[in-house]
C-alpha cells in the first residue's frame, strides 16, 4: 500500500479501517540466498538495497528481538557528514545524500530534518582544526561553513559566550546535517524491504553458524536451521558475541552510551549544537524534548544502562554551555551498547570465512551512516567487491596499519 495525501483522505472517510500491518510476520523458510543477521537500521537498510537496487531475491533478515529494539531506536538521531579522513568522509557524505532522498525512496515519512549541526570552538587552535576539517569536508563534496562569534550569537543567543574557562569563539556549521526520526527509519526500511519480498523474521536469534571447509553453509537459530551460502552480520553492540560463534575475534569492545530527554519545551534549540570543550551535544525533538548526551561510560559494558559519573559529566557540560537548561526537568535517560572499534571507524568487509560478511564497529555514530552502510553492505554481498565509498573500511587494516583514526587516539576504544 502506497502512502499519500489522497490515501490519508480516503481512510479518513472510511474510519481508518483500511490500514494494514507495515510488514508481514514471516516464518523462516528452509533456505535463503542471503541472510542478514540483525534487524537494526543497518540490517534492514542492507535488505532494502539488496532487493531494490541490486535486484536480489530470497533474502531474510533475522532479528533476535523486535525491529527497532536495538540502537536504531535508542540513539539521539543526529545525522551529519563532518568527518576529516578520506577513509570515512565519502561514506558519510554518500549517506547524507541518501538521507536527502530517503523518504521518496521508501515512500515513508522518516521526518528527515536538515536543521543543521553546529560544532562550537573555544580556542584559536580549535578554530584552525575546524577550518581544516571543513576544508576536508568540502573536498569530499559536503558542505561546511566556519562561523565567527557574531554569527554563532545570531543563531544561538542563549549560549554562554563569556564563559570564563571556555569562551565561545565560533563554530563549524554543516547546514545539511540535522536529525531524523529514528524508529521511522527502521520501520520505513522494513516496510520497503518487505514489499520487495524480503522476509523479516523477528524473535529469531542466531545461535550458531554451520561452516564446512571454511565456507558458510547455514545458520542455527531459535526457530530452527536455515540453509544459506551468504550471511551478512550487522548486529552493532553484539558484534563480538555473534562473530565469536564463527570463531572470529574482532578489533571491537562493547561500551555503553547514555542519552537523556527533558520535558517538552517550546522551540528553543535551533539545530544540533555540540560543545567543543567537553563532551555534550543537544538538539530538540519535534515534541519539544531536549535530547542530549555526551561521552560513553568508558569501560566494557553489555548492560543497557550507564552509571552516575557520566550523567554528572554530561549535565555539567550542558550547564557550562547553556546555563538555562538547568531549569528544565529531566524526563528519561537510557543506555545502548556500542560496538567501539580499535580506531574509532567502522568495518564493512568480508571475513576469512567464505560467504560470511561483517558490518560493524560503528561506535556511537552509526545512525547517520544507516543508508550508506546498508547500501555499501548490499553492494559487497551482491558483487563481492567493496562499494566505492567503503574501500578503506577493511577488517585487515589493523594488520596492515592503514588505520582510520579520526582522533589519533590509538588502539584505545574508550578514547574514540
Amino acid at each position: 500500500m502506497r502512502y499519500s495525501a489522497f490515501r490519508l483522505f480516503l481512510e479518513g472517510l472510511q474510519g481508518q479501517s483500511g490500514w494494514k500491518p507495515v510488514w508481514r510476520d514471516a516464518a523462516p523458510q528452509a533456505s535463503y540466498d542471503y541472510v542478514i543477521v540483525g534487524g537494526g537500521g543497518h540490517g534492514l537498510a542492507t535488505a532494502h538495497y539488496l532487493a531494490k537496487v541490486y535486484k536480489k531475491a530470497r533474502i531474510a533478515v533475522l532479528e533476535k528481538g523486535w525491529i527497532g529494539g536495538g540502537n536504531v531506536g535508542r540513539n539521539t538521531t543526529i545525522i551529519r557528514s563532518n568527518y576529516l579522513l578520506d577513509g570515512n568522509e565519502p561514506l558519510y557524505e554518500f549517506s547524507l545524500k541518501l538521507w536527502e532522498g530517503l523518504e521518496q525512496d521508501l515512500n515513508y515519512n522518516a521526518m528527515v530534518s536538515q536543521r543543521g549541526i553546529l560544532n562550537l570552538c573555544h580556542s584559536d587552535v580549535q578554530r584552525d582544526a575546524y577550518r581544516r576539517r571543513g576544508n576536508a569536508m568540502i573536498l569530499n563534496g559536503a558542505d561546511a561553513e566556519l562561523l565567527d562569534q557574531d554569527q554563532v550569537r545570531e543563531m544561538a543567543p542563549f549560549l554562554d559566550f563569556e564563559n570564563a574557562r571556555f569562551p565561545i569563539k565560533g563554530g563549524l556549521l554543516q547546514r545539511r546535517g540535522g536529525t531524523v526520526r529514528h524508529d521511522a527509519v527502521a520501520w520505513g526500511y522494513a516496510r520497503s524491504a518487505d514489499s520487495h519480498g524480503v522476509d523479516i523474521i523477528q524473535n529469531c536469534e542466531v545461535t550458531g553458524f554451520r561452516i564446512e571447509n571454511g565456507a558458510i553453509r547455514g545458520l542455527e537459530t531459535g526457530r530452527g536451521y536455515i540453509g544459506t551460502k551468504k550471511i551478512g552480520v550487522a548486529v552493532a553492540g553484539s558484534s563480538s558475541r555473534v562473530m565469536a560463534m564463527a570463531g572470529l575475534r574482532l578489533p571491537i569492545e562493547s561500551h555503553v552510551l547514555q542519552a537523556f530527554v527533558s520535558e517538552g519545551l517550546k522551540p528553543l534549540i535551533p539545530g544540533v549544537i555540540t560543545f567543543g570543550a567537553g563532551h555534550f551535544y543537544i538538539s530538540q525533538s519535534d515534541k519539544g524534548g531536549l535530547v542530549f548526551g555526551g561521552d560513553i561510560d568508558g569501560y566494557n559494558s553489555y548492560a543497557q544502562r550507564g552509571n552516575l559519573p557520566v550523567v554528572v559529566d554530561v549535565l555539567e557540560g550542558g550547564m557550562a554551555l547553556m546555563p538555562m537548561i538547568g531549569r528544565a526537568r529531566l524526563l528519561r535517560m537510557w543506555g545502548g551498547i556500542m560496538d567501539m572499534s580499535m580506531d574509532g571507524s567502522p568495518v564493512i568487509d568480508r571475513t576469512p570465512i567464505d560467504g560470511l560478511y561483517f558490518n560493524g564497529g560503528w561506535c556511537y555514530g552509526g545512525f547517520k551512516a544507516t543508508p550508506a552502510s546498508g547500501y555499501a553492505f548490499a553492494h559487497l554481498l551482491a558483487t563481492d567487491m567493496p562499494h566505492e565509498t567503503a574501500t578503506q573500511l577493511r577488517l585487515d587494516r589493523f594488520r596492515t596499519g592503514a588505520l582510520i583514526d579520526e582522533k589519533g587516539a590509538g588502539a584505545q576504544p574508550n578514547l574514540h
Partner: protein
C-alpha cells in the same frame, strides 16, 4: 561503581582510569617467529565477552597502582580485585 582496592579499601571508580582487557598483561615475545601476528592480536583483537571480564584499572587519583578487576559487564557487579603485579607474577612475569 565501587572498586574494593586490596590496599585502600572501597574506592569510587571515578578515581580510576580504565585501560581494558587484562590480557594486555600477557605481552607477546617480540623475538618469536610469529611476533607480527602475535602483536596484531595482542594490540587489536579482544574477546569482549558478555559476562565475567578481567580488566585493568589504574588508580590515578589514589596510590597509582594497577589493579585487575573481575567484573560482570552485564550487571557492573565486581566480584574480585587484586593488584595487577600479583596477577602478573602468577602468570609467570617477573613484575
Amino acid at each position: 561503581m565501587i572498586i574494593n582496592h586490596p590496599l585502600l579499601g572501597p574506592r569510587d571508580s571515578q578515581e580510576f582510569v580504565y585501560l581494558g582487557d587484562a590480557s594486555l598483561i600477557d605481552r607477546p615475545n617480540a623475538m618469536a617467529e610469529t611476533a607480527l601476528d602475535d602483536f596484531h592480536d595482542y594490540l587489536y583483537l579482544r574477546d569482549n565477552p558478555a559476562g565475567s571480564h578481567k580488566e585493568l584499572w589504574f588508580h590515578e587519583q589514589g596510590d597509582r597502582s594497577w589493579l585487575v578487576v573481575t567484573r560482570d559487564v552485564t550487571t557492573h557487579e565486581i566480584t574480585d580485585v587484586e593488584l595487577a603485579s600479583d596477577y602478573a607474577k602468577r602468570r609467570g612475569r617477573d613484575r
